[in-house]
């Protein structure tokens, strides 16, 4: 009797264990199931590189290039802002700040991670957008730049905590060696610790990008939502994620529009899959490198 229950439990454990693989497969399968139906009537090339996203005009046009470029522009802006700030604050928290201060700073970053994206989007509309509107004298502050600033901020917890981990995993002997040779703390950080943690930093940047590209609600609320080819960072744009969130409610189940939104989902899934694989590669390299010596 006892044997049987144990046998059943161990089977359950195994099934749950491989569950994650099953779920990833299911997600991909169901995205394909709906999304691929679009390509019965629209060819892949005009989907990916078409410049017009008019899903409900007659005839509809499903070109997602403006959305891809919208996502890229917002992401690029966010990376430009977030990477230097992220590296600098991770260095400050891990290497410079006294222990009590670094604990407080870390809790602050954890707090930021806990704030839901919808709340940040709401605050962004109320504070950041009017601020940008005044500074740049724009008709509306809801622009790609607002999205980039918001997303840079939202990616910060991911970027800072992973960089901090990789700085902490740099062997102590590296620091001691450098300081013993008469280098200042800053020289040690700049010449020894940063290079040793470089793989971890790359992983952090990749995961930050993944976070930014996939972010939906805050971006939907703050980028102004215009599905046009972006020409400036001070213009409203529309991202891949925001398009799905904004339009799925109106798309009739089984219509071309519905399939097209799932096809966008496939694009997002593939992007995030690649980003995570690359990040994982850097993460493992970081671990191996700093273990060997």
């Amino acid at each position: 009797m006892k044997r049987t229950t144990e046998w059943i439990i161990e089977k359950l454990i195994f099934i749950s264990g491989i569950g994650s693989i099953v779920f990833v497969a299911l997600i991909f399968f169901f995205l394909l199931k709906e999304g691929l139906s679009l390509f019965a009537s629209v060819n892949v090339f005009s989907f990916l590189f078409g410049v017009n996203w008019y899903p409900i005009s007659e005839p509809p046009q499903f070109g997602i290039l403006p959305l891809i470029l919208g996502s890229l522009l917002v992401t690029l802006g966010a990376v430009v802002i977030a990477v230097p700030l992220g590296i600098a604050s991770a260095l400050y928290v891990a290497e410079v700040a006294p222990k009590w201060l670094s604990e407080i700073l870390k809790s602050g970053i954890e707090l930021l991670a806990a704030i839901p994206s919808i709340v940040l989007g709401f605050i962004g509309i109320a504070t950041l957008a009017p601020f940008l509107k005044n500074v740049f004298n724009l008709p509306s502050g809801l622009t790609a730049l607002a999205g980039s600033i918001m997303l840079a901020f939202m990616a910060m917890p991911t970027i800072v905590s992973i960089i901090e981990d990789s700085i902490n995993s740099v062997p102590r002997s590296y620091r001691e060696g450098s300081l013993a040779l008469g280098a200042t703390r800053w020289q040690t950080i700049y010449r020894v610790i940063l290079p040793a943690a470089s793989s971890g930093i790359l992983a952090a940047i990749m995961l930050g990008i993944g976070r930014v590209i996939g972010e939906t609600m805050a971006v939907l609320m703050i980028t102004g939502n215009a599905a046009i080819l972006p020409t400036s960072i001070l213009q409203p744009v529309r991202t891949l994620t925001a398009t799905i969130a904004a339009e799925m409610g109106e798309a009739v189940s089984g219509s071309e529009h519905y399939f097209a939104l799932f096809a966008i989902g496939i694009v997002l899934f593939v992007i995030s899959f690649i980003i995570n694989l690359v990040a994982d590669f850097f993460m493992n390299r970081n671990k191996k490198r700093n273990k060997k010596k």
Binding site: F30, W186, M217, A245, S253, L268, S272
Partner: protein
Amino acid sequence: MIDSKLKEKAAFAILLAATIIVIAPVALILAIILINGLPALSFEFLFSIPRDGMRGGGIFPALVGTFYLIVGTALFAIPFGILAAIYLNEYAQRNRLTRAIELAIINLSGVPSIVYGLFGLSLFVEFLGFGASILAGSLTLAIMTLPVIITATREALSAVPRSFREVSFSLGASRWQTVRGVVLPNAIPGILTGTILGLSRAAGETAPILFTVAAFYLPKLPTSVYDQAMALPYHIYVLSTQVPNVSVKVQYGTVLVLVGMIFILNIVASYIRSYFRKKKTW
């Protein structure tokens, strides 16, 4: 020499400035939410239904909906996540299958939240015929929360010293008996902390529930798992973008309730962590 000392001072000042740029907005945001949200809080606001096209009244249905979604998510994600972590930490060999599971978990945690929404819509709402419902929304949120729970549980399990297991095995206990009697009890604080954090994140998610459960406005509370429900995050979205002329007070009040709820869960989680860390003797 003086030059390099000076450089160090300048560099550290820049690092400090960057850190302030990152942290100061967090404090500012929380202050804005508190100052604008507190005046809205009242018994009536929490426990009555929205009125006047959601410009007045309270947020009770959204509060209840979010509560149901958290419970539903917990029911699916906790057992599944803990068992999966037990498999990875206690049973799995270092082989290709394990590596594949690890990669799958990493990818699950990286899938954009709106893609979870699409997946939930096509599998639970349409294919399995649950309709937009608490059941479909909870399942979607649960799958999204799994990686958090698995990772936290795995860490908690691997923190239990190997010698504990060896003693149990040497007394003739089977692997499962060892897991249940020795490893799990010692890992519970870590599991609890991770689980609460995962659920608190699920509570604030909007994109996965947009098409799987969230209702714009429901005057009555849901009565079965097949009913739609209002939810706090979606309610914030509706109040700030879909309904014109909602008073700032109502908007910030709703935001404060959601953020307050999430912070309370986070505080509970870190209290559990520090309480048991102090008690720990190994």
